[in-house]
């Protein structure tokens, strides 16, 4: 993984706990933003972004709204397989304020996969980070014969076999 040149951008809402920073540490080449658009000052310094991960905390309606607002600033070409949603807090189904139907709707509208993760446990953090890494490898074009678009079509639930 040392020669992976792509970057993953994690878009999160501020009050998500510090475990998120740990997720970012596992993914050593990631940047975290709290919302889009990114500030234009760093444009020339910014490397190419290969994967955008939107983090949604299911306990907070605000995080969903934040993500929805940020989605508007994403260039359309990213939605060809370079965007995914990471939903945390599913283990708290008792106190979730975001309906699962809203999540599934996001998945359909933006044709992007949804991953689930509980940030509190290290094992799950590491496993999810590894999954994001695999996606990053594909989106950065490091797997011969597999493009981000192809992968995105695989992950959509309307895939036909």
């Amino acid at each position: 993984m040392a020669n992976c040149n792509g970057y993953v951008l994690l878009v999160k809402w501020i009050p998500l706990p510090s475990y998120l920073a740990k997720l970012g540490n596992v993914l050593s080449f990631s940047r975290i933003a709290t919302s889009l658009p990114l500030p234009s000052e760093g444009d020339h310094l910014r490397p190419r972004i290969d994967l955008i991960v939107f983090m949604i905390d299911i306990k907070s309606k605000y995080s969903l709204r934040n993500v929805e607002a940020s989605l508007a600033y994403v260039d359309a070409s990213f939605f060809l397989g370079k965007v995914c949603f990471l939903v945390t807090g599913v283990g708290r189904l008792n106190c979730c304020s975001v309906e699962m139907s809203a999540i599934w709707k996001l998945r359909e509208v933006y044709s992007s996969p949804v991953l689930f993760c509980e940030l509190e446990l290290e094992g799950i953090r590491v496993a999810t980070a590894q999954r994001l890494l695999r996606m990053l490898e594909i989106c950065a074009g490091l797997i011969p014969g597999v493009s981000a678009l192809y992968f995105g079509s695989l992950m959509s639930s309307s895939a036909n076999y």
Binding site: N94, E118, M155, S157
Partner: protein, 741 residues
């Protein structure tokens, strides 16, 4: 008074010739340890504190007993103090049995305001058992209706939660009719339904009362649950059709009692999360029931032996009670089971069945649907409550894993899946992170019963695919293995039910052969698809290829071994990587698979031609064509070196002459065969080293080389060559070989 007496002496098991439910008796008094159990020993300083607490509890109970007039809570500090005492002791250690009578009487008699009553009811946490008499008197208060509606509801919720703590239940069963009459109250209806569900025995089904239920309209889920239970006991009397799928009928009533009971249990048994052997009672050697979870409460079987009705000679087992019923705790050996199989009394909590092999044997033999209904219901509730990624506390992950293991082992024993388990998987797989309890979940997947495609696609295939593509190599292999076992379980099910004409098994759809063929075909196509993608993503590792080819080893033999008229070739994305792989294991496996395909196809063709009648299923010519294309490629790669010229498969190896010339390979037409194949080169070199002095392999040395390969364990290769390759061309081959050198 009875109470005072028991406060001084250590707690004895209740009188009666039946044994108590669990080792709850040890909880009550600190300082007394049972040598057979590893309950934590409370130290002596604590016993003084316990005595003080016991005294204050006694005082409080005395006070409540003697209270005649209505007292307002706010003004009376004595009342408040006693309430606080009761509450604190209840939450800390639970209340002794004597306390329930007094407190229930107070709470349900309507003497006090609702706040007091609610507080009292919420403190009714049992430490050991609840005497039946207190319940009876409470029900009589309920009938009188002196307390408010909310209190009645709270009482019912409490009763449902602590149902298993009640020591005897005969009199409660006798009050069945009273409970039934409460159904009419709309607010109480769901809870009463739940209670009746727990209480119903076969005898109740025959009473005429419940016929009236059919006229209640609005088929709410709780009524459906009760009716489905009645239908099981007396199917001829229930005429309306009920939905087949088992749903969660009863909402889990949230109450403080469960948490308090769990907390007390945890505290008294220390921090051992793993199961301990549980002895029921001390006098007699009992059957060991491993409590699979120390904090989830599975009470052991309660035995109701007093005045039970005669089972009038029908040759089936009366589940709940029978004349001279044989309590399950005494069941220790298989001969005992056989002797008493008609008097067996099932435990009131079905969960304890899971770990008892004798009861599982019984479940296997006697096809009693109510058993499955109860077990499924209990399991569904437990899985939903305890699922570690769907609840707030996931500190009990180890226990949940053990529970899932137990369920899996039970499914293996019974050789069928539980519908509640299937529902749990369908609900939680879309939300699964792929890490928690991974091996247990994947093993449970292999027992999913046959279902229709659209359901399986959205609930099983899609979430699995999403996890599959993004996860590690090992996860992929685990998924493939569990899908192979799923296929085998379906095929075994088919073989077993092939001959049984009247199939009354619980199978939602696909009891027809064509339905089964469709579902199996869809699974195979799904696996073919994900295998192709996975090989691409992981760059053809041998480890992954092994699992994929293992799956196809089951697929290739479906016709002959499992009598399923279906034959599906592996996709090109699996076939060619295996054919051109760099190691001989995959090649050998592939050869074996192709050999089995050939055998199956030949057998099918023979059956077709020999039978006069038209078969329902014939393999289409497309299947034969696919097979032929693959065979041409294989023979070309292994034998005749003509793969690049003759492979006609659309995704095959065929290349134009010009392109082949550009490779500047000499002796193109003879350079790709069993000697020069990258997987076999090592063997060729070793062979030549052994027969030193030969520079090349041709003529009879070819045969010796083949013999050498067979001795190296390449059985699949042997079978393939002997069956698929026409050795008449051996002569021409050796001539071509002679031109080398």
């Amino acid at each position: 008074m009875q109470r005072r007496q028991s406060s001084k002496t250590p707690k004895q098991p209740l009188q009666g010739h039946h044994k108590n439910q669990t080792d709850l008796s040890a909880w009550c008094k600190g300082g007394r340890t049972d040598p057979e159990k590893s309950v934590e020993n409370h130290q002596t300083p604590n016993s003084q504190k316990n005595d003080r607490q016991q005294d204050s509890l006694e005082q409080a109970l005395c006070y409540f007993e003697k209270l005649q007039d209505r007292v307002s809570l706010k003004k009376n500090s004595v009342l408040q103090q006693h309430l606080a005492t009761v509450e604190s002791i209840a939450l800390q250690r639970g209340l002794p049995p004597e306390g329930f009578d007094v407190l229930l009487n107070v709470a349900l008699s309507g003497k006090f305001a609702d706040t007091v009553n609610t507080c009292l009811l919420k403190s009714l946490v049992p430490a050991s058992v609840i005497p039946e008499s207190s319940i009876i008197s409470s029900v009589s208060w309920l009938c009188v209706g002196k307390c408010s509606g909310n209190i009645q509801l709270l009482f019912l919720k409490w009763l449902i939660t602590v149902f298993d703590f009640i020591d005897h239940k005969e009199q409660i069963h006798a009050l069945y009719g009273f409970f039934f009459s409460f159904l009419q109250d709309e607010k109480m209806c769901p809870y009463v339904c739940h209670l009746l569900y727990l209480l119903t025995r076969k005898e109740n089904g025959e009473s005429i009362q419940w016929c009236e239920m059919e006229y209640y309209f609005g088929m709410q889920s709780h009524l459906q649950a009760l009716l489905s239970l009645y239908k099981l006991f007396c199917p001829e009397l229930v005429t309306i059709t009920l939905p087949g799928k088992m749903k969660t009928y009863f909402k889990n009533s949230e109450g403080p009692w469960k948490a308090a009971i769990n907390a007390i249990r945890r505290r008294s048994q220390g921090n051992s999360p793993l199961s301990q052997p549980l002895f029921l009672g001390t006098a007699q050697p009992q059957s060991r029931k491993r409590k699979w979870n120390t904090q989830l409460f599975i009470p052991a079987s309660s035995t109701n032996r007093n005045n039970l009705e005669q089972d009038s000679g029908k040759n089936h087992v009366d589940l709940y009670s029978a004349n001279k019923s044989f309590p399950v705790e005494q069941l220790q050996t298989f001969p005992q089971l056989l002797e008493n199989i008609h008097h067996l009394e099932f435990p009131s909590q079905m969960g304890s069945v899971l770990t008892n092999p004798l009861l599982l044997h019984y479940m296997n033999c006697i096809k009693d649907e109510s058993v499955y209904l109860r077990l499924n219901y209990w399991m569904g509730q437990t899985l939903q409550e305890e699922c570690t990624w769907c609840v707030a506390d996931n500190q009990y992950e180890d226990e949940f894993k053990d529970f899932l293991e137990t369920v899996y082992k039970t499914e293996c024993f019974l050789q069928e899946g539980f519908s509640s388990c299937e529902e749990f998987l369908y609900k939680s797989l879309p939300l699964w992170d792929g890490f928690c309890c991974r091996s247990q979940i994947l093993r449970l997947v292999s027992w999913i019963p046959l279902g229709n495609f659209s359901e399986m696609k959205s609930h099983l295939y899609d979430p699995l695919a999403q996890l599959f593509f993004t996860s590690s190599l090992y996860f992929k292999c685990s998924v493939l293995e569990s899908l192979k076992e799923l296929l085998q379980n379906w095929l075994n099910w088919h073989v077993i039910h092939l001959d049984s004409a009247s199939d009354s098994q619980v199978c939602s759809l696909n009891t027809t052969l064509s339905g089964l063929v469709n579902v199996v075909a869809e699974l195979i196509q799904f696996v073919g698809w994900i295998s192709t993608v996975a090989l691409r993503l992981e760059n053809n590792p041998t480890f992954l290829l092994y699992f994929i080819l293992d799956f196809y080893e089951t697929v290739c033999d479906m016709y002959l071994r499992y009598s399923l008229p279906l034959l599906i070739m592996p996709p090109a994305g699996v076939f060619y990587p295996a054919l051109l792989s760099m190691d001989s294991v995959s090649l050998n496996q592939l050869c074996y698979i192709m050999y089995r395909y050939r055998t199956n196809l030949v057998a099918a063709k023979e059956n077709e031609q020999s039978k006069k009648k038209i078969l329902q299923f014939k393999f289409s010519s497309q299947t034969y064509q696919e097979y032929n294309q693959y065979i041409i490629a294989m023979v070309g790669c292994l034998w005749t070196s003509t793969a690049f010229q003759k492979d006609i498969h659309p995704q095959g190896l065929r290349m134009d002459e010009e392109l082949l010339k550009k490779t500047a390979m000499q002796e193109l037409k003879t350079s790709f065969n069993i000697v020069y194949h990258p997987a076999m080169m090592g063997y060729a070199v070793l062979f030549l080293q052994q027969v030193m002095g030969w520079a090349n392999i041709w003529g009879k040395k070819w045969n010796w080389y083949l013999e050498y390969l067979y001795t190296q364990g390449l059985k699949g290769l042997k079978l393939f060559i002997e069956s698929s390759i026409n050795r008449v061309s051996q002569a021409s081959r050796s001539k071509a070989g002679n031109t080398q050198a």
